[in-house]
């Protein structure tokens, strides 16, 4: 007999890796250490440095400002977990703003909201189809969509803002529920919904599997295309919600709305510990990433730091936060 290898009934052997608490939990804990600490550090710093930072009014401010970015980041997180990328969100927000504002002006807020959501889903669907069926790399596909949606938004709006949005809709942006701004509640609900979807549905688990190892997922019979398309549609819907929030805030349909959101949302997601290579990270981290970016910018404004200096400080703070996170995580 040729195969006299030695081994043992492993059931009886204590395994070094199964000792202590499960690896999943410990890794997640560590992974979620650094950024929350960075967030707490800047909150403490700003509280000491500015006397208006730690007020209810300012927190409502920050919450309101962070709402749209959070919404976009939730969708972006789905796509990035899949090892894809959605750069189109920036102008998807603009296109949705224009279309829903026109629909609202013509047929009222509910129709406008529906039109916005539909547009978002359609953009996501096209992105997903282009990436899966035409096998165009996500970067190019969504950059192309960024350009297409921008052109379309400008064409439809003829380059100028759309006015005539019902005041009742615009007022929603300023509504508070139990003292909390409504847009923030919507965004928070979206984060929770995103979390639940990613962790407790088969779609969510498939997204992690496809992002973590596409080949393994495919060989195990998971439909990679369907999973990717679903993630893009989620991203489109989230962009629609963000767009509606922003449209209500500025009170007009804007063909240039949210241009910086493509990169910002990716940054927030990556900052939250989600790997651009897919399959790793959690939406809880993303919320912290959005919080970090938003509070940083709010705090610097409260300290009345000049714009140019702010740019430098924001850059340095991003590096410092992630470096601290990494130092805490891999203490090899």
């Amino acid at each position: 007999m040729e195969n006299h290898k030695m081994s043992v009934d492993t059931q009886s052997v204590a395994h070094p890796k199964t000792k202590g608490f499960p690896a999943e939990v410990s890794l997640n804990r560590l992974r979620q250490f650094g950024m929350p600490i960075a967030l707490i550090v800047i909150v403490i710093y700003f509280s000491l440095a500015s006397d208006v930072f730690l007020t209810g009014q300012n927190f409502r401010n920050v919450a309101l400002q962070a709402a749209a970015l959070s919404a976009v980041a939730v969708g972006q997180c789905f796509v990035i977990l899949n090892a894809d990328l959605d750069l189109s969100v920036g102008s998807a927000v603009a296109l949705i703003s224009v279309i829903s504002a026109m629909a609202m002006a013509a047929a009222g807020a509910p129709v406008g909201i529906a039109a916005g959501l539909l547009t978002g889903a359609a953009i996501g669907l096209v992105n997903g189809l282009v990436v899966t069926r035409l096998r165009v790399m996500a970067f190019i596909a969504t950059l192309a969509m960024l350009s297409i949606a921008q052109g379309l938004a400008l064409r439809i709006s003829k380059g100028v803002p759309i006015t005539g949005i019902p005041g009742s809709f615009a007022d929603l942006a300023f509504a508070n529920v139990l003292g909390v701004p409504l847009p923030f509640l919507i965004a928070a609900a979206l984060v929770v919904l995103g979390f639940l979807t990613l962790h407790f549905t088969r779609l969510g688990r498939n997204i992690y599997a496809v992002g973590g190892n596409t080949e393994a997922a495919r060989l195990s019979g998971i439909s990679v295309s369907k999973t990717k398309i679903a993630a893009y549609v989620v991203s489109g819907l989230c962009a629609a919600i963000a767009s509606l929030i922003l449209t209500a805030r500025v009170g007009t349909g804007q063909p240039t709305l949210g241009a910086s959101m493509s990169l910002e949302s990716v940054a927030a997601v990556v900052l939250g510990g989600v790997s651009l290579f897919g399959g790793r990270g959690s939406i809880a981290g993303v919320a912290i990433g959005v919080g970090f970016v938003s509070i940083l910018s709010n705090g610097l404004n409260l300290l009345n730091v000049s714009s140019y200096t702010q740019m430098m400080i924001v850059g340095a703070a991003l590096i410092a936060a992630v470096a601290a996170d990494q130092a805490l995580t891999h203490k090899k």
Binding site: K5, E24, R218
Partner: protein
Amino acid sequence: MTDEPASPDDVVVQVRELSKVYPGVTALSNVEFDLRRGEIHALIGENGAGKSSLIRILSGDSRPSAGVLRVNGKLEHFSSPQDARRAGIVTVFQELSIVPALTVAENVVLGNQPATDLLGRIYSRRLARERTRSVFQTLGVSIDPDCRAETLSTGEMQLVEIARALLLDAPVLILDEPTASLSDSEAARLLDIMVRLRNAGKSLIFVSHRLGEALKVADRITVLRNGERVETRERHQVADTSELIQMMVGGRLERLFPTPNTNIGGVLFSAEGLTRRGKFEDISFAIRSGEILGFSGLVGAGRTEVMRSIIGADPLDAGRIVKHGVHFRVRDPRHAIETGIAYLSEDRKGAGLVLSLSGYENIVLSAMPRMFRSGYVNWTRVRAVASEIAQRMRFRGQLGSMTSTYSGGNQQKIAIGKCILSGADLLIFDEPTRGVDIGAKAEIYQLLHEAAEAGAAVVVVSSELPELMNIAHRILVMSAGRITGSFARSEFDEKTLLAAAFAGHAGANDKAPESLAA
């Protein structure tokens, strides 16, 4: 030869005139193959013979260039593994397909996640865990379903994949080298399960380079050579492994193991008190020039971890290393190569090869600084040097194409070639013959022997005890992160070695599994 057609309703999977052509490579030509209901059909052949290519077509992972495939008499054109699954064919592929960041349980239910609601949308962690536990129990493994798959050793990952396939309870189960990284008891258990499934009426295709396994469980055996079917025989028509080997390679036979080198020099390298907390403790050994030192132990004993720390890939908490009388700390793998220590990883896909580069480049990867001091890369020289090594390794394929297109065994040969070419005089080989055909094994043993003869010190980590007993001058046994035995060639004895392997597991049931008692 039993080539007369079986009665049609007996045949579950039928393949006729199947060919597969890759650019410049004919992986399969005109292959005929039948899988009967309730049989275990072994598929054997050298590395690159086309076994995995056939399996990939049967399981919907790739499409044939020509030929037909029938499942239960129905013509099928699979366009994805999903299609094959729907037709009742489930496969454990040769290359590991594990999602590292997910838990073990999630990997086991991958593509088949249990749901709690009627629509099947809500994922049930509890059910996933339960199912994982129960299938693990059948397999006799004790991996925690909640730990991350990336922390598993290669063998454990293999078990997870097998569990995934078993869970589906499909009428046709295909296993491509499932035992390559398993230890004996796990392999034996798997073979038992296969027999049980066969007896329950399932059909199985089984690939292995361990010909003994094929002879043990198969009802029929098909031999492939160079993409063609040599023949299919009933088990009782095959006398022994040597007959199979003859069918596989179609030529003359020679010895598998070389006579050990007798020209042993002074101590070349020694490790003193190496410790990495939680992984291994107080590992000390010395190796002389010209010597082959075997490392034996159970799966997860910590051998790989020791070797990785020696080359600076992982940190050490304590201990030191002495080479040629100089003691130093290895900073990183580059430093290790510079000081003449080369390492062959047990995980060729993850840590051994750059699959997107050609074979040429992988072979010279570690030797580049030595070969091209100026920084300018001379491709003519790369090709010449790499071709020479590949020829010595009996590599079959095109060195110029991407390594990802090579058969598993051929990839292994490239990885070994890289270590040999690095010019190191301490060679550490972790499972060097995993997934390698028997002809190539002989070749690898010969290479190790030659390297030792030329004055190198060679460390071989292997889970195959007979292999170590035949090629090593000495064997160290590790158990639960410690060295529990050291044996000179004259003391080699399976029982003693096994006892040492169990020594570190106090409180465990200390007797060797029955499968090894015989």
